[in-house]
């Protein structure tokens, strides 16, 4: 979850500790603020706006001055930033670990691929809404029952769903089976760069507006932090959770569709591979769970590392192992993500203190709080 939350948890040692996990209703919102603490106020606002505009200008003019290699990289970063964002919605904001997001990605990819086959011949942009609808329906059907499960149960259930989707596409005829599907060759790389960038940007704006600037966001966080209390406030928790799940499902569907058209050939190994979920998890964890911009940062870093790794070592399997090591290290040493390093120096100090303290945690009775996230 957010760094702010854990800071507060650490501050509140003693009997209040258990409550600390549940009382911070607006943690993600406050985190965004505290993470950018030096830049708040009217002047900070200008700086931030300037930064955002500079970023937008660089992003939009990239094809004018950059090389095709970097455009391809930037497209990949946009894709993964969007995917990581969608995972952050369900995990960071709603508090449910989903290991099945690759399923939605694959659904989007296959929808676009099947509809663009010569015997259907749909135009590309018409296929994206279909992918959205299918992913949303699928998310409701699977999420309605699965979201009643907690923690690990939900994680495994979504994992099973994604595996079932993959098994199905491998077995079924009209998905091309293990051989996969070939799409028509699309326009140039600039086209895909812009489409991907715009899709990711829309996803970010949508999620930011919905989760940080609306009542819906407060509802989602309230349900995450204390579901019974949220229900007592009159929030329809099941509905809110399903809404969040659908929101986090349609984004990968759209990006999956664009990705399919971009890479022009898909099969279960490429768009329904578990490594995609692995990457999402590590990107969000590295970037910072529940931070608004953490996933984008994590995605950019990880994707660049990935590309660099592949071009210098040429082995994607040792990359998987490295991803595993990164996840372990981040969980052990930087539970709030890399974003937390520069936010405030106090935070890093607390992380260091935590490391020294963790050993005698149990004796101080901390095991009592161990059921908190279930």
């Amino acid at each position: 979850m957010s760094s702010d939350d854990s800071v507060r948890k650490r501050a509140k040692r003693g009997p209040e500790r258990r409550g600390a996990a549940t009382t911070s209703m607006s943690s993600a919102t406050t985190t965004t603020k505290t993470a950018e603490a030096p830049t708040t106020g009217p002047r900070g606002r200008t700086i931030r706006m300037a930064g955002l505009i500079a970023f937008a200008v660089i992003a939009l003019t990239l094809p004018l001055w950059s090389t095709p290699y970097w455009i391809r990289i930037a497209t990949g970063v946009a894709l993964w930033a969007g995917l990581a964002l969608s995972w952050n919605v369900i995990c960071g904001y709603a508090g449910y670990i989903s290991f099945g997001h690759v399923g939605f990605f694959g659904i989007g990819a296959y929808t676009t691929a099947i509809l663009m086959q010569p015997d259907h011949g749909w135009p590309f942009f018409a296929t994206l809404p279909v992918g959205i609808v299918i992913a949303a329906v699928f998310a409701v059907i699977t999420g309605w029952p699965a979201l009643r499960l907690k923690g690990a149960y939900f994680a495994i259930a979504t994992w099973a769903i994604a595996e079932a989707v993959r098994e199905f596409t491998t077995v079924a005829d009209w998905t091309g089976g293990a051989g996969g599907l070939t799409l028509p060759i699309g326009p140039g790389s600039n086209y895909f760069y812009y489409v991907m960038l715009i899709a990711a940007a829309i996803a970010y704006v949508l999620c930011y507006a919905l989760l940080e600037r609306s009542r819906f966001g407060y509802r989602v966080k309230a349900v995450r932090d204390n579901e019974p209390a949220a229900r007592a406030q009159g929030i329809d928790a099941t509905k809110v959770k399903i809404q969040a799940y659908v929101l986090s499902a349609v984004i990968p569907a759209v990006l999956g569709g664009i990705n399919a058209y971009w890479i022009t050939f898909i099969n279960p190994q490429s768009v329904l591979n578990t490594i995609i979920t692995d990457q999402l998890v590590v990107m969000v964890l590295v970037g910072g769970l529940g931070h608004a911009w953490g996933p984008a940062f994590g995605a950019a870093v990880l994707f660049l590392v990935n590309e660099q790794f592949l071009s210098s070592f040429g082995s994607s399997t040792s990359y998987i192992a490295m991803v595993g090591v990164i996840v372990m290290l981040v969980v052990l040493f930087l539970p709030d993500g890399v974003v937390s390093i520069w936010g405030r120096s106090r935070r890093t100090r607390l992380v260091r203190q935590l490391l020294g303290r963790a050993a005698d945690d149990f004796r101080s009775g901390n095991a009592a709080g161990s059921g908190g996230g279930r």
Binding site: S6, A155, V282, I320, V327, M328, D361, S370, G373
Partner: protein, 294 residues
């Protein structure tokens, strides 16, 4: 009819191995409060230990079983405290972080194995038995029968430890209530490490047996994770009897699907049944989660 009996026998023989995989997993879940997503990776790693024991030293994997237990137990002994630390840390959502941590372990093992061993399927070679026995027209491959027997012995030894030793008593106490167990003078951290060590050792042994029956690739780890989870969900926590029944049920389900629907659909059937079980028994499942917590 013949086919049904055959499927049942095959299913029970495989089910014994599923029990051996799941029984330690179930206990580790109860004691550490973490679903170890790496369980299937220990299975595959154990199988590869058997393959390599034969390749490198020419030792028969079945003789190698105790060594496997000790070696993987040591791995678990080293890893257990880390998981314990994540689980009892002051992170915002320790349960989520624990899950993410074991996910990292699973990813590391999978990537490492793919790098070292590649994608080629391997089978554990053994010289102890070969061929198959036939009883009332039901064919029983000898290797499966022996694997089943070894699994039964391992599970029996495990249960003996759990129910007839003082340490086993401490383990059960921790699984029931960490705080009270701690107050009674049980070193919860040490017990957690011990349970994790026993669990990894047992699972790796079961994996070696599994590798003698089915060929293994590093990619199969996920499947065994789901199978172990299936068994634990179906069984309900704290119920050893439940694990026995659920493991055998999974084996039979798999065998029946293979016989009557087709081997391609085995996994999908298991996933769908798992999903349905999670849906119809949310009460049972949550009760079981509560049992862990208190």
């Amino acid at each position: 009819m013949e086919g049904l009996a055959q499927a049942l026998v095959t299913g029970i023989l495989i089910g014994g191995l599923y029990v051996a995989i799941s029984v330690g997993f179930s206990l580790a879940f109860g004691v550490l409060d973490v679903v170890d997503l790496a369980v299937g990776m220990w299975v595959v790693l154990g199988a590869y230990a058997g393959v390599k024991a034969h390749d490198w030293f020419g030792v028969d994997p079945f003789i190698f079983l105790p060594v496997t237990f000790v070696v993987f137990g040591l791995f678990g002994w080293l890893l257990g405290p880390l998981i314990y630390r994540v689980r009892t840390s002051r992170y915002a959502l320790p349960a989520l972080m624990g899950l993410a941590f074991t996910f990292g372990v699973a990813t590391l093992i999978r990537g490492g194995m793919l790098t070292v061993f590649g994608y080629t399927p391997r089978t554990v070679q053994t010289d102890i038995v070969s061929g198959s026995w036939s009883l009332f027209g039901i064919v029983m491959p000898a290797i499966r029968v022996v694997g089943f027997l070894f699994a039964v012995i391992a599970v029996a030894a495990f249960l003996f430890f759990l129910y007839f030793t003082r340490t086993g008593l401490a383990v059960r106490a921790v699984a029931q209530n960490k705080e009270s167990a701690g107050l009674m003078g049980v070193d919860v951290k040490r017990i957690s490490s011990l349970v994790y060590a026993i669990y990894t050792g047992l699972t790796a042994m079961a994996g070696m047996l599994m590798g003698a029956v089915y060929s293994m690739t590093p990619e199969l780890g996920l499947r065994y994770t789901l199978f172990a989870f299936f068994v634990v969900v179906l069984a309900g926590l704290g119920s050893v009897l439940g694990v026995l029944v659920a493991g055998l049920f999974l084996g039979i389900l798999q065998a029946l699907t293979t016989t009557y629907v087709g081997a391609d659909y085995t996994l999908m059937t298991v996933f769908v049944v798992l999903f349905v079980i999670l849906l119809v028994l949310p009460q049972g499942v949550s009760k079981f989660a509560k049992a862990v917590r208190t």
